[in-house]
């Protein structure tokens, strides 16, 4: 085809079909809904939900996973657009990690030694990482689908950021099932689940995000 013919054809549809916010709302929002349904159907939500909400420790894991999810989202949003850089957004991830680690360290040091094993392993450390990955997967699929409609020019980085976002949002959802709330536990095993998703995104991004 002649280039001029091509241009004339393309120019007939100037306005894009969907805005990035609509694309992300659909992909991310849809993924989170599926993750909630999956958690409810497969794992069940913890029954002492209302009781647990009274303790501050209950909120800590949600604050942590939500902060990482927000950091992941603002990074994904930048990496979805050619010619932009992530600026200081990586610092948000670092801040969330450092704050959680500091809280965990404080908890560890102030607890009697007899409780250390309980703080570290909780009652569910074996299943924590695989279940977070499982709950995160629908969110990951949604975010990748959104990114594929946009234009990530750094597919490995964008894939990793998508994994971080999906892992953190998935861990947030998983938090409604899991009855662990010790910061030591959360900052180790939740973080490991989120890291696994980040690695999965980095590894698969090269193929999933090609355009």
């Amino acid at each position: 085809m002649k280039t001029d013919t091509l241009i004339a054809r393309l120019a007939q549809n100037p306005a894009p079909l969907a805005t990035p916010s609509a694309i992300f709302t659909k992909g991310l929002g849809g993924g989170i809904v599926v993750a909630f349904v999956l958690t409810g159907a497969l794992l069940g939500f913890r029954h002492d939900f209302l009781h647990a909400m009274a303790g501050w420790a209950y909120w800590a894991k949600f604050a942590y996973t939500l902060a990482l999810a927000i950091a992941g989202f603002v990074i994904v949003e930048r990496l979805a657009r050619p010619g932009t850089d992530t600026g200081h957004r990586l610092l948000l991830v670092a801040a969330a990690l450092v704050l959680a680690a500091a809280g965990a360290l404080g908890q560890w040091l102030s607890a009697p030694e007899a409780q250390h094993a309980k703080l570290f392993f909780g009652g569910s450390w074996r299943v924590c990482v695989p279940l977070i990955v499982l709950v995160s997967l629908p969110i990951f699929v949604g975010v990748i689908a959104a990114l594929r409609q946009l234009a990530p020019t750094r597919p490995v980085a964008a894939g990793a950021a998508a994994g971080l976002l999906a892992g953190a949002a998935g861990a947030f959802v998983y938090g409604f099932h899991c009855n662990e709330s010790a910061l030591v536990f959360v900052s180790i095993w939740y973080s490991a689940g989120i890291a696994a998703m980040t690695a999965l995104g980095a590894i698969t991004g090269r193929w999933l995000l090609r355009w």
């Binding site: 079909l17 990035p20 657009r81």
Partner: protein, 182 residues
């Protein structure tokens, strides 16, 4: 250089913003304006002309299908360049060559083609400005506007041989000025 880049940025960005709002004419003008830049960008980096034209078309299609990803608060030329560069790297990957693409300024696409020609034209104008008025007019007629010696002679009322000598001396003067050897 900087100012021509800023001008390109402002013009192209205004067209893009209008296009995203649904202005088909602006979008058509934008794609038309980008094509020579892209052509020069790829032609310089590939050595097969047909491949360059394929990449121009592929990039135009990518600009089209990915146009939602442009954030109007960000520079348009950086967005354009990132897409062109991505397509170039993709082309090297597909063709199996191990070529790497050097890091470039974000305005590498728009800095080529038209603005290079524009800069060359500006250099010529600056050089011409150093000549006296009459000689400048004569040189412009013969060398830039493409008049024949006879036409220039008729237009200026000089003899043909005087035109030839005048043009020759003016060129000599300019060559001396830019430090070349006649």
């Amino acid at each position: 250089m900087r100012t021509s880049h800023e001008r390109a940025e402002n013009e192209l960005k205004a067209l893009m913003v209008a296009a995203l709002a649904g202005d088909g004419a602006a979008y058509h003008r934008l794609l038309k304006a980008l094509t020579p830049h892209l052509r020069a960008y790829f032609a310089r980096r590939l050595h097969v002309g047909a491949e360059a034209e394929d990449l121009v078309q592929e990039t135009l299609i990518a600009i089209h299908t990915k146009r939602a990803s442009y954030d109007c608060s960000q520079p348009f030329t950086a967005w354009l360049h990132a897409i062109a560069r991505y397509k170039l790297i993709d082309h090297f990957r597909k063709s199996g060559s191990r070529k790497t693409v050097a890091l470039e300024e974000a305005d590498a696409v728009t800095a080529e083609s038209d603005s290079e020609a524009a800069e060359a034209a500006r250099d010529v104008e600056q050089l011409l400005a150093t000549l006296p008025e009459a000689k400048r007019a004569l040189l412009r007629q013969v060398k830039l506007d493409g008049l024949s010696t006879a036409e220039a002679a008729a237009a200026t009322g000089m003899s043909e041989s005087a035109v030839k000598v005048g043009v020759h001396r003016s060129l000599q003067a300019l060559i001396k000025r830019i430090g070349g050897k006649a």
